[in-house]
């Protein structure tokens, strides 16, 4: 028998709005205007758009890394929009972010052990009895060799860094991951590896994903629902199959048309498997 809170959506966003004040008399920029969506456990909602569409601002607003101008964000029924810093910090353990640039998002001087265990230093009550063992477990879960534990971020490749970022995000056992273009900065062959890892983790751990991307081909593979953003709004929103198969909005259609597939042969698949 499941209680109401089990079925409460992981994330409920209503009327989210972010306006950046114009400097020196310039008009205000509305980065996010009136965005609503709901995300349940185990689901992946992809937000697609080009640069300037507001998708990155949306991702950060959801986590209150940028303070929303208006709107409500509910995590499992709890309204996080109005929380004070101390309460917000407690809630942060449930919602983590994976950033786009693996070369910028990890502290250049810290070791992998330090990076992955840092969240426990912030949330002392979640510190495991044997931190090093737990870090090794997490590294294993993300496919990193355990001898990497004492390496510096500077010694790792892009794909390895993203894996470390994922391990770090998972250390607090969150329910929600916000992924801001998690593989855009990686080579195509590494992208495949990291995407596979992310999808497998989602299944294993029942995570909910808010997946920001500009790459429609990629989104088609990972999303359950898709929101197409343009000018700070969802111009289209719905199940992935419907949005890709039968796009209603003109912008969505133009976006799909412009995305480079592999030419005529893409319908029959690329190389031999």
């Amino acid at each position: 028998m499941s209680t109401a809170s089990d079925q409460a959506p992981v994330l409920e966003v209503a009327g989210l709005r972010k306006v950046f004040a114009g400097k020196r008399g310039a008009p205000d920029t509305v980065a996010v205007a009136d965005v609503d969506f709901t995300l349940h456990a185990g689901e992946c909602l992809a937000v697609v758009g080009e640069s300037g569409s507001g998708k990155s601002t949306l991702a950060r607003s959801v986590l209150r890394l940028i303070e929303p101008t208006d709107g409500r964000i509910r995590y499992r029924g709890v309204d996080v929009t109005g929380l004070n810093p101390a309460e917000l910090r407690r809630q942060r353990r449930h919602m983590q972010m994976i950033f786009q640039d693996p070369y910028a998002s990890l502290h250049p001087r810290q070791t992998v052990y330090r990076l992955v265990s840092e969240p426990w230093r912030v949330h002392r009550d979640l510190m495991p009895p044997d931190p090093r063992a737990r870090v090794r477990e997490l590294l294993d879960q993300v496919g990193m060799p355990s001898h990497a534990i004492d390496a510096h971020a500077g010694q790792l490749s892009g794909g390895q860094r993203q894996r470390v970022s994922i391990a770090r995000a998972l250390s607090l056992r969150p329910d929600l991951l916000v992924l801001d273009e998690p593989v855009s900065a990686l080579d195509v062959s590494i992208q495949a590896q990291v995407i596979t890892l992310l999808m497998e983790l989602r299944e294993e751990l029942g995570l909910a994903y808010l997946f920001i991307s500009h790459d429609l081909a990629l989104v088609r593979l990972v999303a359950d629902h898709v929101g197409v953003m343009y000018g700070g709004r969802f111009v289209e929103y719905g199940p992935a199959e419907r949005v890709f198969g039968n796009p209603q909005d003109a912008y969505t259609r133009s976006l799909l048309a412009a995305s480079p597939g592999l030419g005529e042969s893409s319908a029959s698949g690329g190389g031999p498997r």
């Binding site: 080009e50 195509v188 995407i195 593979l221 030419g263 190389g271 031999p272 498997r273």
Partner: protein, 289 residues
């Protein structure tokens, strides 16, 4: 008939004081004819960008270039700076990835075009100005006359890249090297730049080398491809042939990992475990560079 550009056993290594030299390019061969577009396809660390820079003599100490690169029959490797300067721009033009970095921020785009036309083409000022405006229109800048005096930061990324292309073709090069010119641009803008380049090539019979990591973009613009991996060419040929039936495991893996090729993410799983795609995923000890 000699090829426009013939590269034989090109090597580039970077000396270090922390250990043995870093082999960025280990012996690369390819050729480009007039009117032909060659894509150099590779991921990071493959040596593709270093290769394109080496052709123009842009690799400085601690890089050491070896091998041969003959442009119109003339050896470029080891050529003195004076002679290289004559070839750069007029013989071989180059367009880079970062258009904002490529343009001088304190001069208007028009004046930068005029400078190139006056110094390298010998046009008098009025003629240069007129030609500059003409070029800007040719590359698709709307209202070129008015935008002549605008500054680089006042253009969008796509427009700026068009200016860089105008700058390159102003000197009427026989070969254009484009190093990831569309990587930093949105998908819709990308398509426009590629169309522009193809049109220019058709009109001038220019040879083109297009360096990229994006298979789909390579497919759109090039007729031939060389696939680079860890400083070597692992596959070459007509691009349609290579993509339809790749020989080398790396090329196969690359094609399979493109999301367009898969139906669900589970299809990528096969690629994820492919040892042909394994590179220096050992924890590197490399410092800097």
């Amino acid at each position: 008939m000699t090829a426009l550009l013939e590269v034989r056993r090109l090597t580039v290594e970077f000396l270090t004081d922390s250990g043995s030299p870093i082999q960025a390019v280990r012996g690369v061969d390819f050729a480009v004819d007039a009117g032909q577009t060659l894509a150099i396809l590779g991921e990071s660390g493959s040596g593709k960008s270093v290769t394109s820079k080496a052709l123009m003599g842009l690799v400085d100490f601690p890089g050491v270039v070896g091998g041969s690169a003959r442009f119109e029959g003339r050896e470029m490797i080891g050529l003195g700076e004076r002679d290289l300067q004559r070839v750069r721009g007029r013989g071989i033009g180059m367009v880079f990835q970062d258009s904002l970095d490529s343009l001088n921020p304190v001069y208007s785009v028009g004046s930068q075009l005029v400078e190139a036309l006056r110094v390298r083409m010998g046009l008098p000022h009025q003629a240069a100005r007129a030609r500059a405006v003409e070029l800007m229109s040719e590359v698709g800048i709307v209202d070129a006359e008015r935008r002549f005096s605008s500054y680089p930061h006042q253009f969008s990324g796509g427009m700026r890249q068009r200016i860089c292309i105008a700058l390159a073709i102003a000197l009427q090069p026989r070969l254009l090297i484009a190093d990831e010119p569309t990587t930093a641009l949105d998908v819709t803008v990308q398509a426009g730049i590629i169309r522009l380049l193809k049109r220019i090539q058709a009109e001038t019979d220019m040879g083109m080398i297009f360096v990229t990591h994006d298979l789909a973009v390579a497919r759109m613009i090039a007729s031939h491809v060389v696939v680079m991996f860890e400083g070597l060419v692992v596959e070459r040929g007509r691009i349609d042939d290579v993509f339809a039936d790749p020989d080398h495991p790396y090329t196969r893996g690359l094609l399979a990992s493109h999301p367009g090729a898969a139906r669900t993410w589970r299809d990528l799983r096969a690629v994820a475990g492919d040892p042909a795609l394994e590179r220096e995923e050992v924890i590197a000890d490399v410092d800097g560079i």
